[in-house]
């Protein structure tokens, strides 16, 4: 099995390699990449739903333009899948040389889909100069929802599940999924989660599943029909109990994470899930959350994953895209992203690999009132295989999302 997957990985690495020689410089010859990048325009397709993220992307674009002469155009998406569709349609139409998308912010199922459909170019990520600083030991930067990245996407931010709660209405942190259920039963209508298949809503389901399952190893394998029911049944039993205690009796859900945040600001709910430890602090600073909000993690740890950027196979500005991907991994960009006044995103870098000066910049950051320290964040649990996400959100919809 291992041999087979290695062989597959090798052949996957070799095939696009042929294309690599013809239309873009080899990332290991970095000067050649920068020479080719100068003057290119990179259309970066990234979710545009957050003012903070948009500002960060604009800031990055200014730096990259200044340093490398690469123009960055942020294509603001309502849904990352729009870009996947775009690349797919281009392939269908034979537009193989200069597609509309040069770089995509993605992870999880979108990456798995694009990789499987040969829509990505690479490998490039691990040849980028700033890869040397990346924490490849303790951070899940070489697998994306258990799918090996094999250099087809470059990490730029770490995310971990935290729960935000309103200290005006709640006494203290909750340590497990069971405690969340008990609290919600005692405070009906004060908790909800974004409606699956929204990724954050699905994340809540996965988080509960991991927390109430003893054997997490099985979740890292693709779903097998044989034991699916046995593993997932406790989750449905949990949700059957939880749903009637939710906001609006579970008859309506917020559509997205930010919509859920808004409910908290409106004092409609007191407890909400987030996939960014710094989000609460950033939102408080932005007036999008009341100042009394704090965060907690579960006793057994919470889910974590990385955000990546990938280059479509038909990008006409691959050198520029690589220059941008590399800059995103630079200590300068990473420390800016971790600033709670900017984004509050976790860094992908390893502090031990940085120069003293860069490390000091990270240490000087005030992470914000509602952000837990790296120690307090506790253990990071790995993402289950993407097939679990798909199956569970599908079944959730059948059980709770169709008025049954």
């Amino acid at each position: 099995m291992t041999k087979l997957s290695t062989a597959l990985a090798l052949s996957a690495a070799c095939l696009p390699g042929a294309a690599l020689a013809t239309d873009a410089p080899d990332p290991s010859d970095w000067q050649a990449v920068l020479d080719a990048a100068e003057g290119q325009t990179v259309y970066w397709h990234a979710w545009g739903g957050s003012t903070a993220t948009n500002d960060f992307i604009a800031w990055t674009g200014d730096r990259v333009e200044e340093r490398f002469g690469v123009t960055v155009e942020h294509v603001k998406l309502a849904d990352t899948a729009d870009s996947v569709t775009r690349v797919l349609s281009e392939k269908q139409a034979g537009e193989d040389a200069d597609g509309a998308v040069d770089l995509i912010w993605l992870n999880g199922p979108n990456f798995a889909q694009m990789k499987e459909a040969d829509l990505l170019w690479g490998p490039f990520a691990e040849q980028l100069p700033n890869w040397q600083y990346v924490d490849t030991e303790d951070k899940t930067v070489r697998t994306d929802f258990t799918v090996p990245t094999e250099g087809f996407e470059a990490p730029w931010a770490m995310a971990q599940v935290v729960f935000m709660y309103d200290t005006d209405d709640m006494d203290g942190a909750l340590g497990s999924a069971e405690e969340i259920l008990d609290w919600s039963a005692a405070n009906p209508g004060r908790f909800t989660y974004p409606q699956p298949p929204d990724f954050l809503g699905t994340t809540f389901l996965k988080q509960v599943l991991i927390d109430i399952t003893d054997d997490n190893e099985v979740l890292s394998q693709p779903v097998s029909e044989a034991d699916y029911d046995a593993i997932v049944d406790p989750l449905w039993a949990y949700l059957d109990e939880l749903t009637p205690t939710l906001w609006r009796d579970g008859r309506a859900y917020p559509a997205t994470g930010p919509a859920q945040l808004q409910l908290m600001a409106d004092d409609e709910i007191d407890l909400a899930i987030s996939f960014s430890p710094g989000e609460a602090s950033t939102a408080i600073a932005d007036n999008r959350l009341p100042p009394a909000v704090r965060t907690f993690v579960l006793d057994d740890g919470t889910l974590g994953n990385a955000s990546f950027v990938a280059i479509p196979y038909n990008s006409g500005s691959k050198a520029g895209a690589m220059a941008l991907a590399n800059y995103l991994m630079s200590p300068e960009a990473q420390v800016h992203a971790q600033d709670p006044d900017v984004l509050g995103y976790g860094t992908v870098l390893d502090m031990d690999k940085l120069s003293d000066e860069d490390r000091a910049a990270f240490e000087a950051l005030d992470l914000g009132v509602a952000t837990l320290s790296p120690d307090e964040l506790g253990e990071v649990q790995p993402e289950p295989h993407p097939s679990w996400m798909t199956r569970i959100s599908e079944e959730w919809t059948a059980r709770y999302g169709t008025g049954q």
């Binding site: 397709h45 545009g48 797919l88 269908q92 919509a259 808004q262 919809t397 999302g401």
Partner: protein, 582 residues
């Protein structure tokens, strides 16, 4: 009613100087227009049909099958989603039409009516998504109305857990659509009113002792409805397949069919595209079915209306209806205006928690943050909208003039073709359109986006301009021809100036349609063309009310200006020609 209208226009049309043959360019206009509208739609339909039957080569799927339909039938929410699409569409259309009718019947020609008109017309310019956002904030349990009355009047220290927005019956969504579609129908009806000879009809009816509402319904309504039935169909098709309003105000467990199609389209699993395509075909069938049902309803109402008119009842005590119409109209106007006020307030709000009636602090931070983006996107938006509108006006007036000169009224099949871009749900035929442009290698830059907008702008211009154009009194042309004026002279010196008001109204509608396009701009522009709407919708997905407020206000302004001009210019230019004010 319909038959009568066709017969009437059939009588009027040939009375022009049809002896002159149309110049070749003019004769080619109908063909050009149809190509501009139908090429993309045909490609789009193929792009829907093929995946529904299992054929999507880019995803490696080339086996023909009906699995997608099987998966669609197996979806447990299908019944409820289908019901929601039908009920929200039909109720919203009937509601909007009913209120517009009562307002016109009870108040046209009065001072209150001009007040209501002035109140309602600007509402057309508020984009659907922005209205929906404002409305959701206005009426939700933690919304503005609750904040203004809590806790002193309601006792709500915390927002009550009430399912008002996103209710499973789609009532909030229907209400939002009624409030938004009513101004559109009212404006269309106003444009038609000038051609319906309403003043004289009413004078006769009143002198025979008919009540105001009853007299209007019996004598003027048939003539007005005959002219606005096409816009009514558009409202029905639109309300059934709307996505943005449904996402904000509609239920989500399950959502209406159109929203579910978008969710399937956006699923990373490419197999779901097939189910989405099958769902899109079902949606198309639903829209066609609902239109047919509406047509049957028209016939039944027409039959009953004849009996009602024949019985001679004067309906002197119909004042209640009159005030009901005014109340509903005012309520809708106030709801939309208050929604807009919510947007404006949020755009300058600091922290604003429940139950504070106003934000704790006000600042311009959101505006300074977004203004550079708004300026850039606004320029692109204006360029696209003006180009598409101009092209549409040239094509449509060309078509109508060619129709007029040849003396051949447009066939029912021709009308169906004009409808097609509005009847096929956008989500269904746009990916196909995108593939077509890619194949032609014309997928970047502004021109393809303008061409794509033209597909949606053309039908609206046709629908809003066609009836006033055909209802123009052909005797004007006969007189001019008798005095030696050429057909071109009649067109440019008599017909176009006389029709200035409907033309400007059509242009304003066209601009509004263009400004509001999200999916065509995103898909055809490859994401490289940013307009106010693509930016606003992307931000709206994040739910940041301050950003939504800023962009919603900017988007509204972009549509408001053309409508203000469409109302002001004719009154200014024809200030000495009272009969041309419409």
């Amino acid at each position: 009613m319909a038959t009568r209208a066709h017969r009437m226009s059939g009588r009027v049309a040939p009375s022009g100087p049809s002896a002159h043959a149309a110049p070749p360019l003019l004769a080619a206009m109908p063909a050009l227009t149809l190509i501009a509208m139908l090429g993309p739609v045909a490609a789009g339909l193929a792009g829907t049909l093929l995946p529904a039957l299992g054929y999507l080569p880019a995803a490696g799927l080339t086996d023909w099958s009906t699995d997608a339909f099987a998966a669609l039938w197996a979806w447990p929410g299908l019944g409820a989603a289908t019901r929601l699409s039908l009920t929200t569409g039909l109720f919203a259309t009937a509601g909007a039409l009913g209120i517009v009718t009562l307002i016109l019947a009870g108040w046209s020609g009065t001072r209150s009516f001009r007040l209501l008109e002035r109140l309602l017309s600007p509402l057309l310019s508020v984009p659907h998504a922005a209205t929906a956002f404002g409305l959701a904030f206005l009426i939700s349990p933690s919304g503005w109305l609750a904040r203004l009355t809590s806790p002193w009047a309601t006792g709500w220290d915390r927002p009550p857990d009430l399912l008002i927005v996103q209710d499973p019956w789609g009532l909030a969504m229907t209400a939002g659509l009624v409030a938004k579609e009513m101004p559109f129908l009212l404006l269309m009806a106003l444009a038609a009113l000038g051609q319906a000879d309403a003043a004289r009809r009413m004078r006769v009816a009143r002198s025979l002792g008919y009540g105001r509402v009853t007299g209007w319904l019996k004598t003027v309504f048939p003539a007005v409805y005959a002219q606005i039935r096409l816009p009514v169909y558009v409202v029905l098709a639109y309300s059934m397949s709307v996505v943005d309003v449904a996402m904000i105000l509609g239920p989500s467990t399950p959502p209406p069919l159109s929203v579910q199609i978008v969710i399937w389209m956006g699923d990373p699993e490419l197999q779901r595209r097939l189910v989405a395509a099958a769902g899109a075909l079902l949606q198309l069938g639903l829209v066609v079915g609902a239109l047919a049902a509406w047509r049957l309803g028209e016939m039944a109402v027409g039959r009953l209306g004849c009996l009602w008119a024949m019985n001679g009842g004067r309906g002197r005590r119909d004042a209640g209806l009159r005030y009901a119409g005014f109340a509903f109209g005012t309520l809708a106007a106030l709801a939309v205006l208050a929604s807009l006020a919510c947007l404006g307030l949020w755009s300058v709000a600091g922290f604003w928690g429940y139950p504070a009636p106003l934000p704790d602090t006000l600042d311009l931070q959101s505006w300074t943050r977004h203004l550079p983006g708004i300026a850039a996107a606004g320029g692109t938006t204006a360029l696209i909208a003006l180009a598409a509108t101009l092209a549409a006006l040239v094509l449509v007036t060309g078509c109508l003039e060619a129709e007029h000169r040849s003396g051949r009224a447009i066939t029912p099949r021709g009308m169906f073709l004009i409808y097609l871009p509005l009847l096929v749900p956008q989500t269904a035929f746009l990916p196909g359109l995108q593939t077509l442009l890619l194949t032609l290698g014309a997928d970047t830059g502004l021109l393809p986006v303008i061409a794509a907008h033209l597909v949606f702008v053309l039908p609206y211009v046709f629908l809003s301009l066609g009836d006033p154009w055909r209802a123009w009194d052909g005797r004007n042309a006969t007189v001019a021809a008798a005095l030696g004026t050429s057909p071109a002279g009649v067109l440019f010196r008599i017909r176009l100036p006389m029709l200035l008001r409907p033309i400007l109204t059509s242009a304003a509608v066209a601009i509004a349609v263009s400004v509001g396009q999200y999916l065509p701009t995103l898909l055809v522009g490859g994401g490289r063309v940013s307009t106010l709407t693509t930016e606003a919708v992307a931000l709206a997905s994040g739910g940041d009310r301050r950003a939504i407020g800023v962009w919603g206000v900017a988007q509204t302004a972009a549509v408001f200006l053309p409508f203000a001009l469409a109302l002001a210019l004719p009154a200014l230019i024809w200030r000495h020609r009272r009969g041309l004010h419409g």
